[in-house]
């Protein structure tokens, strides 16, 4: 299937303003509390852009401002070349939004949810009906099309919310934790669908707590913490900059890990209650060196550096709230 993304629209926009989303010093305040504290963003047409960050980092607040639902407190923001303050409805007509929390009409059927929602975008009944059939298939909900939403599983509701966000053939799709609560099958199905949308030229902005998802889906990421952007780059760049190619994990069962003995074996060493993490370019070599020094871990593991390592390094291992 091929949702009607009209490539020339995207291209046109790109030429006009050199970015689908552009933020400078963007802030969001709730009363005295500053949830977003001056961030800069540039999302290019056709890319998949990710937000990572611990709970409360300000990801959803940012997404809601970009969705033109929540007014910004300060700074500059343009979406599709327009200012949300003055042209909110025009921008929203061209966006797809998957909020963190579903807001489907539970008392209506799956199909009715799509119909009603499409009508708000000024689409004719005939168009919305045909589009709904297409999207039900996209989300693999055709079997349940005429069932009420209420008794559906969380994952099905999530898929419906995602299908609903595509009813207007958006140029920019904002997904706030789209796969939280989905089983692995549904996650992979969604990744596949998002990949297809990208091929059709849809720009994606995604927040997620799954690092594998971010690595799979995103060309470029920002890591947010405490309302600020603390790092930005492609998954590969971030790993290169904040982690190492490989990580050697030494596990200790009885003794406390002896950090001093491992000193100098790697670029960086992290001490956890039961483990030492050695960030190194060559894990096997570091392991051999550790054995030579007489370190006797109960077990050891060499793995490649991941986004999760980057994330934990940047935002810490302790819970924020």
């Amino acid at each position: 299937m091929r949702p009607a993304i009209v490539p020339d629209v995207v291209a046109e926009t790109a030429v006009r303003d050199g970015g689908l989303v552009r933020a400078r010093g963007l802030t969001k305040q709730f009363g005295d509390f500053e949830a977003v504290r001056g961030i800069d963003l540039d999302v290019e047409p056709g890319e998949a852009f990710g937000f990572l960050g611990p709970n409360g980092a300000g990801k959803s607040s940012t997404m809601r401002m970009v969705s033109c639902v929540s007014p910004r407190t300060g700074g500059d923001l343009t979406v599709l070349g327009m200012d949300p303050r003055t042209q909110g409805p025009d921008i929203r007509a061209r966006l797809g939004v998957v909020p963190q929390q579903d807001n489907l009409d539970n008392e209506l059927t799956v199909r009715q949810n799509l119909h009603i929602y499409g009508r708000y975008f000024g689409l004719s009944k005939a168009h919305v009906r045909a589009k709904a059939v297409e999207l039900l298939d996209f989300a693999q909900l055709t079997d349940r099309a005429d069932a009420e939403v209420e008794p559906l599983s969380g994952g099905m509701k999530r898929r419906l919310t995602i299908a609903r966000s595509l009813i207007n053939d958006p140029e920019l799709l904002l997904l706030d934790e789209p796969t939280t609560g989905l089983d692995p099958q549904a996650r992979h199905l969604l990744w596949d669908r998002l990949f297809r949308l990208r091929q059709q030229g849809v720009t994606l902005i995604i927040t997620t707590h799954y690092m594998d998802e971010a690595e799979q889906l995103c060309d470029r990421l920002v890591v947010m913490d405490g309302g600020k952007i603390v790092a930005e780059g492609s998954p590969g760049e971030l790993i290169a900059r904040y982690c190492s190619r490989e990580v050697l994990e030494l596990r200790f069962v009885t003794d406390k890990p002896d950090a001093a003995a491992a000193e100098g074996l790697a670029d960086r060493i992290e001490v956890l209650p039961d483990r030492l993490l050695l960030y190194t370019s060559d894990g096997e070599a570091s392991l051999a060196a550790a054995h030579q020094r007489g370190l006797a871990p109960a077990s050891s593991l060499v793995r490649r550096g991941t986004l999760e390592d980057v994330f934990l390094r940047l935002t810490g291992r302790t819970l924020v709230d």
């Binding site: 709730f30 009409d105 708000y120 000024g122 005939a126 297409e134 298939d137």
Partner: protein, 269 residues
């Protein structure tokens, strides 16, 4: 698979946008319109039968009833009171549900529909829904011989104006709540029910103690009842009629503005 029709999403002009909101609310409502029809048409008809024809047969036409049989005295007021009650219901639980339990209004906020259009659509929906149930009630009342003249069309207008005079501020209030709706039962118990009983629907207000009357004069129901009877019986005098119209219209206008404000505050955070 590709859709055959090619349409671009667009921003609708406000009247269309408001109408689309009505369309959405109607889709939701029609799932169980029967039970609502029962409470907003059948119940007042039962009232009319029991009180108007049953109990009313014991009441001699007198000055207090404008010289009319009680059932004819009651009908034009009952249409106002029952519209008001239905309005009170439609302006409370469904509105809070759409913000808090179902969260559907939060979904609409991501479409080109604005908070203002959503608020206006909600009010227009209540208005249309009341128009149908009030008109249905009057038709039944006419068949039961409770209607005296075509002036009853003015009663329909009075009923709708009165109901909206309560609905608009109440919708605004419901949109501002973040509770489980405990306040609503208090509103029904301490405002809507006493209003129905004492604001002139069943007996003239001058039967009440003098100190109670000024309170009654503040209720939209009293103004609406006066208007409705004036129209049905052709007893209206210019100045009082104007006064009632101005008072009720002011409530509608202020209420609608407040509703736009509370919808905006709730959605655009």
């Amino acid at each position: 698979m590709t859709t055959t029709t090619r349409e671009r999403a667009r921003v609708c002009p406000t009247p269309t946008a408001v109408w689309l909101v009505v369309e959405g609310l109607w889709t939701w409502y029609r799932r169980n319109w029967r039970s609502s029809a029962v409470s907003s048409v059948v119940e007042p008809v039962l009232f009319l039968l029991a009180l108007g024809l049953g109990f009313g047969s014991q009441i001699q036409p007198s000055a207090a009833t404008g010289g009319l049989p009680y059932v004819q005295y009651l009908a034009p007021a009952l249409v106002v009171a029952s519209a008001l009650q239905t309005a009170a219901f439609e302006s409370t639980y469904p509105v809070l549900a759409a913000f808090k339990w179902n969260r559907t209004f939060l979904g609409i906020a991501s479409t080109p529909i604005t908070s203002r259009q959503l608020a206006m659509g909600q009010l227009l929906w209540i208005f249309l829904r009341l128009s149908v149930s009030s008109a249905a009630f009057l038709v039944v009342a006419a068949l039961l011989g409770a209607v005296t003249s075509v002036g009853v069309i003015g009663s329909l207008f009075a009923a709708l104006l009165t109901a909206m005079a309560l609905a608009a501020p109440l919708v605004a209030y419901s949109a501002s709540l973040d509770t489980e709706g405990q306040q609503f039962s208090a509103i029904f118990r301490f405002i809507v029910v006493p209003m129905t009983v004492f604001a002139g629907t069943f007996f003239p207000v001058d039967q009440l103690p003098a100190w109670v009357r000024p309170i009654v004069w503040l209720t939209p129901l009293w103004h609406g009842t006066e208007l409705s009877r004036a129209s049905a019986f052709g007893t209206g005098e210019l100045l009082p009629v104007l006064g009632h119209l101005v008072y009720l219209t002011a409530l509608v206008v202020i209420g609608a503005r407040l509703a736009v404000r509370t919808f905006t505050r709730r959605l655009e955070v």
